[in-house]
C-alpha cells in the first residue's frame, strides 16, 4: 500500500517537472518583456518593477494595431468560407459514393500532401498577374484553398456517421435535397464544425509563409509579418521584441484558455475519427 502511494507521489512529481519545463519559455518571455533596456539582469530573474515601455514602443513601431485588425478580417472570412465550402462539398462525397465521388474525395484529400511552398513561385507570378498582391481577397482565397483538404477530410468522415434514415425521413416529409442539407444535416455538424474552425483558425491566424510573400505593404501586414520585420530591425532591443511577441501571441492564447476544452477534444475526436 505504502509502495503504491510512493509511486503515485513520484508520478505527481514527474508531472510537476514536466509542467515547469514547458512553462519556462513563457516565463522568460514575460520577464524579458517587462524589463527596461537598462536592466541587464538575467532573464531568469523577475523584474524589480514592471516596466511597460517595451509594450508601448513595440505596439507603435511594429504597427501591431493594423496587423491585428488584418489578422481578424483575414482569419474571420477565410474560416467562414472553409467551413461553408467544406461542408457543402463533403455532403455528396460522404452520401453518394459513386466512382466519380470516390475519385474526387481522394484527389481533394491527397492535396494535403502538396506543400504550399513547392508551388510558391508560380503562385506568386499568378497572383501578381491578377493584381492580388497586398489584397485581402487573394490571401483569403489562398488560405481557403490550402485549408479545405483537412476540412473536407473531417466533414466527410463525420457526415458518414450520420444515419441515412434521417435523410430519407426528411425526404418523405417533402423536404428538398438542398433544404435537407441546410435544415437537417448542417445543424448536426456542430461538433466537427468547432474542430474545423479551431484547426483552420489557428493555422490561418499564425500563417507566416503566405503572408510574408503576398502581404508586403505595411497596411496589409499580418501579425507574423509585422513582427518579423520588427525583429530584423530591432534585433538588439530584445525587450521590444519580447513585448511585441507577447502581444502578438496574446489574442490567441486568451482564446485558447477560454475555449481549451474544445481545442483539445476537437483535435482528438477529429483525428481519431478520421
Amino acid at each position: 500500500m505504502n509502495n503504491r502511494a510512493m509511486k503515485k507521489n513520484a508520478l505527481f512529481l514527474l508531472m510537476i517537472v514536466i509542467a515547469v519545463v514547458h512553462i519556462l519559455p513563457f516565463y522568460l518571455l514575460l520577464t524579458t518583456s517587462f524589463k527596461p533596456e537598462s536592466d541587464t539582469s538575467s532573464k531568469w530573474l523577475w523584474p524589480h518593477a514592471l516596466y511597460f515601455g517595451n509594450f508601448t514602443n513595440a505596439w507603435k513601431h511594429a504597427h501591431l494595431g493594423t496587423a491585428i485588425v488584418n489578422n481578424v478580417i483575414i482569419t474571420g472570412i477565410a474560416v467562414t468560407l472553409v467551413v461553408f465550402l467544406g461542408c457543402l462539398a463533403s455532403y455528396p462525397l460522404a452520401r453518394f459514393k459513386t466512382r466519380l465521388n470516390k475519385f474526387m474525395y481522394t484527389v481533394f484529400v491527397a492535396t494535403m500532401i502538396v506543400p504550399p511552398l513547392t508551388i510558391l513561385v508560380p503562385l506568386y507570378k499568378f497572383v501578381a498577374g491578377m493584381g492580388g498582391m497586398n489584397t485581402y481577397w487573394a490571401i483569403i482565397l489562398l488560405h481557403v484553398t490550402f485549408n479545405l483538404p483537412m476540412a473536407i477530410f473531417l466533414f466527410t468522415g463525420f457526415i458518414s456517421t450520420i444515419p441515412k434514415e434521417l435523410d430519407e425521413a426528411a425526404m418523405i416529409d417533402g423536404t428538398s435535397r438542398i433544404g435537407l442539407f441546410f435544415r437537417i444535416i448542417m445543424p448536426l455538424l456542430k461538433p466537427i464544425t468547432a474542430t474545423v474552425i479551431i484547426l483552420t483558425g489557428v493555422t490561418i491566424w499564425n500563417d507566416y509563409q503566405f503572408s510574408l510573400f503576398f502581404l508586403q505593404s505595411s497596411d496589409s501586414q499580418t501579425i507574423t509579418v509585422a513582427l518579423s520585420s520588427f525583429f530584423s530591425q530591432y534585433v538588439n532591443n530584445i525587450g521590444w521584441v519580447a513585448a511585441g511577441s507577447f502581444m502578438g501571441a496574446l489574442p490567441i492564447i486568451a482564446l485558447y484558455l477560454f475555449l481549451q476544452k474544445y481545442f483539445i477534444s476537437g483535435l482528438s475526436s477529429g483525428a481519431v475519427k478520421g
Partner: protein
Amino acid sequence: MADVAAVSDKGVHQDTVLNTKRKRKKSIQSPFWLNLMYLPVLLLFCVFIFYPFLKGIRLSFTNWDGYSPTFDWVGISNYIRMLHDPNIGIVVKNTLIYGVGSTLFQNIVGLLYALLLNKSIRGRGIVRTIVYLPVIVSPLIMGYIWYFFFQYNSGALNDVIGLFGHAKINLLANPQLNVWIITFVNTYQYLGIAMVIYLAGLQSIPKDYYEAAELDGATPLAKFFHVTWPLLMPSVTINVVLNLIGGLKLFDVITALTNGGPGYASQSLSTMMYKLYFAEQDAGYAATLGNLMFVMITVISVTALMYLRRKEVEQ
C-alpha cells in the same frame, strides 16, 4: 472523448451495412446536380493548386528571374545544377533531420507524456493544457521565444552556463548544433498535438482488455506491448504522417532562430527556396527545388503511410 469515438465507430459500421443493402438504389436516386456542391472547391483547387503546380514544373525548365516578363528555356539545366549544387547536400540533409528527427522525438516524448497524463493524477488537466499551449502560438513567435533562450549575448541558457564559470557559447551559430536546436524547438512546439492524439487513442482502448491481461498475470510492460501498442497503431499512423509532412516543410522556426545560417548550415529546402526567390532572383531554380521538395515529401509520407497502415491491418 472515448465515448464519442466508440459511438461514432458503431455509426460507421451500421452505415456501411445499410450502404451495401441499398447501394444500387441510392446511387441511382442521387441526382447528378448534387455533385455541383463540390464544384467551388474543385474550382479553387484547379486555380490555386493544380494550375500553379503544372506551371511550376514548366518554370523549372526556364531561367526566369521572378520579375521580368521574358525568360529563356534552359532544358534540364536547373536539374543538373541542382545535382552539382555544393549546398544541396547539406540542405537536403537538414530537411530530413527536421522532418524525421522531429517526428521521432515528438512521437516518443508525446507517447510518454500521454501514458503519464492518462493516469489519474491530481492536476493532470492543467499539465495537458500547458504542454498543448505552444501548438496554438505562432511558430515564428515560438522561434523568437527560444531565441531569447539560446541567444549568445543575453541568452537565458548562457546565464546558467556562466554560473558554472564557463565562457558563453554561441549555440545558434554552431553549424553542428543549430540544426538540432531547431529540431528541438519544432518538437517542443508540436508535442501537444502528438500527446493529445495518443491520449485519445489510449482512451478508446476498452478496459476489458487490460483486465483480461491482468488475469493472465501480464506485467505492465507486457500489457503495453501486447495490448496498448497494437491498439494504438492508428494514432501512430496519424501522428507520424502529420509530423513528417509538417517537419519536412519547416520554415518559420528556422527563420526566427538562425535564418538558415551560418551560410547554409541550418537551411532547409523551404528557406533555401525563399532565399533563391527573394534575395537571388533565381525563380527558375527555386521552382526546381520546389519540385524536389514535393517529390521528397510525397515519397516519404506515402511510404510511411503505407507501411504503418499495413501494421494496423496485421493485428
